[in-house]
């Protein structure tokens, strides 16, 4: 694995986050002993997201059983599930005054139900302790098992998302264990439930425009309503290299094409991440 750095094109550069609201949220998170990779990872959107009272939380620990080549989450044997986490998260959401929370998790192939019951408990606890708060559940594939995804559906988050991450051809190179068609089945199960189905892909991994359009078609066929498209950024020298910085005009082209094809909402720009503008997607 060769270390290489690429200079960011001008459209990937953003001003440093600042503002009273951002600082107070940052301090509150620190006081609650939360490890915020929004801050430590210097996410370009954190000021905007936190300013809109939206935040993303990762549950079920920080050790993932899968080793996807784009992802910065550590691939290790996970720790036992922390059953106090749902309550702590619910209380944190209240303390931060969050109106729309995005919950995601590491993949827990070590658990018999992949963590589905824990997901349901977490969503229910947040909703009980925070009436009015809306939730997007960004879930792993649960091997596309109806009964496991059904547990998350029964907890009634407003949006359930599952990211395709990339186009069909690149899936084996980019994702570990996951299958393109299996992920489409996850979207299909969500869509059948009536909950807003959402997915996201990264570009700049070597895909062609035609392949991106094909993925849009596949997602629509599965019932997907919301799509996010953002530039892949290499987290470290150990991760997949960036094949291209996609120009902003192409992102506009993708957004227009996706809307024309039938998606209800599309976020497509270089800095988009899957939870970007997430609060808007409950209306899709």
């Amino acid at each position: 694995m060769t270390t290489s750095t690429r200079r960011l094109p001008v459209w990937m550069k953003t001003p440093l986050p600042s503002g009273k609201e951002y600082i107070s949220l940052k301090n509150l998170a620190a006081n609650q002993q939360l490890n915020t990779i929004c801050v430590s990872g210097n996410c370009p959107n954190k000021a905007e997201c936190w300013g809109a009272s939206t935040a993303s939380f990762m549950i079920l620990g920080e050790k993932c059983t899968r080793n996807c080549r784009f992802c910065n989450v550590i691939n290790q044997i996970p720790d036992p599930v922390d059953m106090k986490e749902p309550l702590r998260l619910a209380e944190t959401i209240r303390a931060l005054g969050i109106k729309h929370g995005v919950i995601t998790s590491v993949t827990r192939d070590d658990l018999e139900d992949g963590g589905a019951s824990f997901w349901a408990l977490t969503i229910k606890t947040i909703k009980e302790k925070n009436p009015g708060v809306t939730i997007e559940a960004l879930i792993p594939d649960f091997y596309a098992k109806d009964e496991l995804i059904g547990k998350v559906i029964e907890a009634k988050p407003e949006v359930i998302s599952h990211n395709m991450e990339t186009v069909r051809r690149l899936t084996p190179k980019v994702r570990d264990v996951a299958r393109y068609d299996r992920s489409l089945k996850v979207i299909e199960i969500i869509a059948k439930s009536g909950i807003v189905p959402k997915s996201g892909i990264m570009v700049g991994l070597g895909e062609t425009e035609e392949e991106v359009f094909e993925t849009m078609d596949d997602l629509l066929k599965a019932g997907c309503k919301v799509l996010t498209i953002g530039q892949y950024l290499q987290p470290s020298a150990h991760h997949l290299k960036i094949e291209a910085f996609i120009e902003p005009a192409i992102f506009i082209k993708y957004r227009e094409a996706a809307l024309a094809k039938g998606f209800s909402m599309v976020e497509s720009s270089p800095l988009v991440r899957s939870s970007y503008h997430a609060e808007r997607h409950i209306n899709a």
């Binding site: 694995m1 060769t2 270390t3 998170a29 002993q33 939360l34 490890n35 915020t36 990779i37 929004c38 990872g41 996410c43 959107n45 954190k46 997201c49 935040a55 993303s56 939380f57 990762m58 549950i59 620990g61 920080e62 993932c64 059983t65 899968r66 080793n67 080549r69 784009f70 550590i74 691939n75 290790q76 044997i77 996970p78 922390d82 986490e85 702590r88 998260l89 944190t92 995005v102 995601t104 192939d109 070590d110 960004l138 091997y143 990211n163 991450e165 084996p172 190179k173 570990d176 264990v177 299996r182 996201g200 990264m202 953002g230 892949y232 020298a237 150990h238 991440r273 899957s274 939870s275």
Partner: protein
């Protein structure tokens, strides 16, 4: 691609510790073939579960590589099975280092370990590897005497059946792609197709991406549940 707030009550030093870099000396370099060798390192206080990998770096260079551990859990050294790649800076440089030279390691990483819930019974494991992908399986097998398994190893030539004496008689199945003779001639997928697959086995597959996906696809098409297949891809 999610910006996340990780919700833990562990201190920052916990995360720092997980990525802690240890220094260890080279104890030995054992040549297996012209292009493959075993690099033996000091273990010191490095603990791992058989099947996991570590990240290795030559001090002063920012060119770390991931290697699955070849030795069992309970020996006082760490063996890594390394194939020299002509344009692979690290594998060539490592071999040129002297015994006693210091390397940086971090880890262990990975979830490619034997399922604890299946270790106590008489569960059968099928291990499928190509080339140096045999590394984690040797560690698993030597760490768990009495394990009920078959190891299917895809190699080009018979002499690449590294340390074959370490496996109980009848458990090690060689598939040679470039050499006809006493071993099965062909790819590991063809071996599985030819000999059949056990529906009651837990499958572990390690090696290059194409082989891992081909074997996984074949197993899934033939009724093996995805949760009973674990994979590790060597990039």
């Amino acid at each position: 691609m999610v910006q996340t707030i990780k919700l833990h009550h562990k201190s920052k030093s916990y995360y720092t510790r997980m990525k802690k870099i240890s220094h260890c000396k080279i104890l030995d370099i054992r040549n297996l073939t012209e292009s493959t060798y075993v690099l033996r390192l000091e273990k010191n206080d490095f603990e791992f579960k058989a099947g996991q990998y570590l990240v290795l770096n030559i001090p002063g260079e920012n060119n770390a590589r991931e290697y699955s551990i070849y030795s069992p859990e309970n020996v006082p050294y760490i063996d890594l099975l390394i194939k020299e790649i002509t344009d692979g800076d690290v594998s060539v440089k490592l071999k040129s280092l002297k015994i006693g030279a210091t390397l940086e390691i971090s880890g262990p990483f990975g979830f490619f370990v034997l399922r604890d819930d299946k270790l106590n019974g008489n569960t059968h494991f099928t291990f499928v590897a190509t080339g140096t992908g045999v590394s984690p399986f040797r560690s698993m097998i030597l760490s768990n005497p009495g394990l009920n398994f078959d190891l299917i190893h895809g190699i080009k030539y018979g002499h690449e059946a590294f340390d074959s004496q370490d496996y109980p008689i009848g458990t090690y199945k060689i598939c040679t792609s470039q050499e006809k003779g006493i071993n099965f001639n062909g790819r590991v997928t063809n071996f599985l197709k030819d000999k059949g697959i056990r529906s009651d086995s837990i499958y572990y597959i390690c090696g290059n991406s194409a082989m891992v996906h081909e074997v996984t696809g074949y197993l899934e098409q033939n009724g093996i549940q995805p949760e009973n297949i674990r994979t590790e891809i060597f990039f």
